[in-house]
Symmetry: C2
Subunit: 344 residues, 2 copies
């Protein structure tokens, strides 16, 4: 009798299918409770300290203006909230900056997956002319000019004869970034806490799976695990899918990869407007409606969109505490910042 | 006998004039042990929390790229280590960004003292076309669009009918900045710890006072307390003192203020290259030599310069621990970033 009453009360307060968690666990995974191991890059506290300093150091850019954190700002969802990032010489990047939060769980990095992991990714923006516009040689000269950095590299890569290298720079950043994991109410729900998600969020989760969103947006990051054409059913408008950006085709040179992108990982999506690789859509509701039309061939109803937004809000997690670093002081040997744009 | 032996030992290890501390205390002051009270702006923990968020928030700039911390970076001595800062549209500012660390103790803010305090200062760069290029109205619209900011303003300015104002924005930033104080070995020495400074640093301190540097660089901030002509004895070269920047003349319209600037506060000067309002000198030794020539009319010897550098190193202090903030999430009502340069 008591058990029956409790069941009824629970049902009245928050009805959701008895198998919702089980169904969800067939598609999604909660964040792991320990930091993910990295290929060829054991994580140590020394490496994390160094990687954090490098992540926040604007002197790794040619101009001295941009750090990794400029475009992957831990204060604002791990991205920069711009359509596309502004870089060296006020140039605009070609694609929206993805969040660094939980990025370690993506199958590969960048919208087209052209970097196999975060250490490969970390080498990209530093050298991109429209981003940091620097060279590996200049980055290493900068870091070697500061004794504190040399000490930190020696501690993080103990036993190496020449620890201050561009490879180790990237490995240290990867180690720090691997700690940027944001447990969310959705994880608590998957881990057994019925009360972690609201009724609307659970309805949204059900809908997200029933409509087919989770065919592409699955796994630990609710996305980020596979590559799919943007415009599976219907080609999006050219402002949202500009014709000149062919997506993964540029990586594979395979005709099938025209307009193919890595499915966006949706953790913290409520914090990372604007949306899509073009960054042209600022309203999450509008982004969901577009996905319904172009990927599922279905005009989602207003209330369906709102329930999906509710579910996506349950993916907003707790950003780890990060003490703002005090960086090594420059010396007279430190290369000076260069603000000119190449060729100008 | 024991006392005599001890005195001899101390003398041999670290000889310095018995009255050095007393002499120094007639010219300098140690940092106070509590946060300085602000005029018309009582400091509360709520105001500091809000002010820290605002200080780190790039969305107070029109482009969404620059925060206060971009040019006054707490990771790199409270400044940006650039000749002059890069701002909106990659424009270059007219003068070197001064450090925000200990700035609360300066007689007034900016190189020409045109802002009477930090809350007046905070309103400047936000509106400067070459810096953040924003307007008070747009800043307030941005902050009001985020419920978390409205809550924080309400808590920090409790009892005010309309707490989210540009004045309160500036007051909160001032309250946070007032906490950015960096106790240094020099303070410990002034407070009675003989061992806090090395023998070279004490010799440098003696020289700094004997040569007359401390005539202008005095007080809590070892500078920042008064206005003096740059080129008291001899006009510096035009690369270091560009002719078009007339200094405090632009503030007072007084002929006597031609090329007059606030004496640079020297705390953490070892971290804040390049030097002078023009930012044209990268080597602290060279900056000291120039000051000898143009302010004191004396060619300082190499070893004298080195002792003064040693003293200045004793002004490098401990930056307070700052937890990197997680900022309020944008809403669909948040004004979008504008990266265009006005008139282009």
């Amino acid at each position: 009798m008591a058990a029956a009453l409790m069941a009824t009360t629970a049902f009245a307060a928050d009805p959701f299918p008895a198998d919702l968690r089980e169904t969800a666990l067939a598609t999604f995974k909660a964040l792991p409770s320990t930091t993910r191991a990295l290929a060829n890059n054991p994580i140590t506290s020394e490496k994390i300290v160094l990687g954090k300093a490098l992540f926040f150091d604007p002197r790794v850019s040619a101009s001295g203006v941009f750090s990794c954190n400029s475009c992957h700002n831990l204060a604002t969802g791990g991205d920069d909230n711009l359509e596309t990032s502004i870089g060296h010489g006020w140039q605009k990047g070609p694609r929206n900056a993805p969040t660094v939060l939980n990025a370690v769980f993506n199958i590969a990095q960048f919208w087209d997956g052209r970097a196999e992991d975060l250490k490969a990714q970390a080498k990209g923006p530093v050298q991109a002319g429209v981003e940091m516009a620097n060279t590996p040689g200049q980055v290493i000269a900068t870091l070697r000019s500061m004794p504190q950095y040399v000490e930190w590299f020696s501690a993080a890569f103990a036993g190496e004869a020449d620890p201050v290298t561009f490879d180790n720079f990237a490995k240290a950043i990867e180690a720090f970034e691997a700690t940027l994991v944001t447990p969310a109410p959705f994880d608590a729900f998957l881990n057994g806490d019925d009360a972690a998600m609201t009724s609307e969020q659970k309805q949204g989760l059900t809908l997200f799976m029933d409509k087919g969103c989770s065919s592409c947006h699955s796994g630990i990051n609710v996305g980020g695990e596979g590559y799919y054409p943007f415009g599976l059913v219907k080609r999006p408008s050219t402002d949202v899918l500009p014709e000149k950006d062919k997506g993964r085709f540029a990586v594979t040179n395979t005709f099938d990869d025209f307009f193919v992108f890595r499915a966006a990982p949706l953790r913290n999506v409520a914090l990372t407007a604007p949306y899509f690789h073009s960054g042209k859509v600022w309203d999450l509701k509008k982004a969901i409606a577009i996905m319904g039309t172009v990927q599922l061939g279905e005009e989602l109803k207003e209330e369906e969109v709102e329930l999906i937004v509710a579910f996506l809000n349950s993916l907003t997690g707790k950003v780890p505490d990060v003490a703002y670093p005090v960086l090594p002081a420059e010396t007279t040997a430190t290369p000076r910042p260069v603000s000119q744009i190449l060729g100008k």
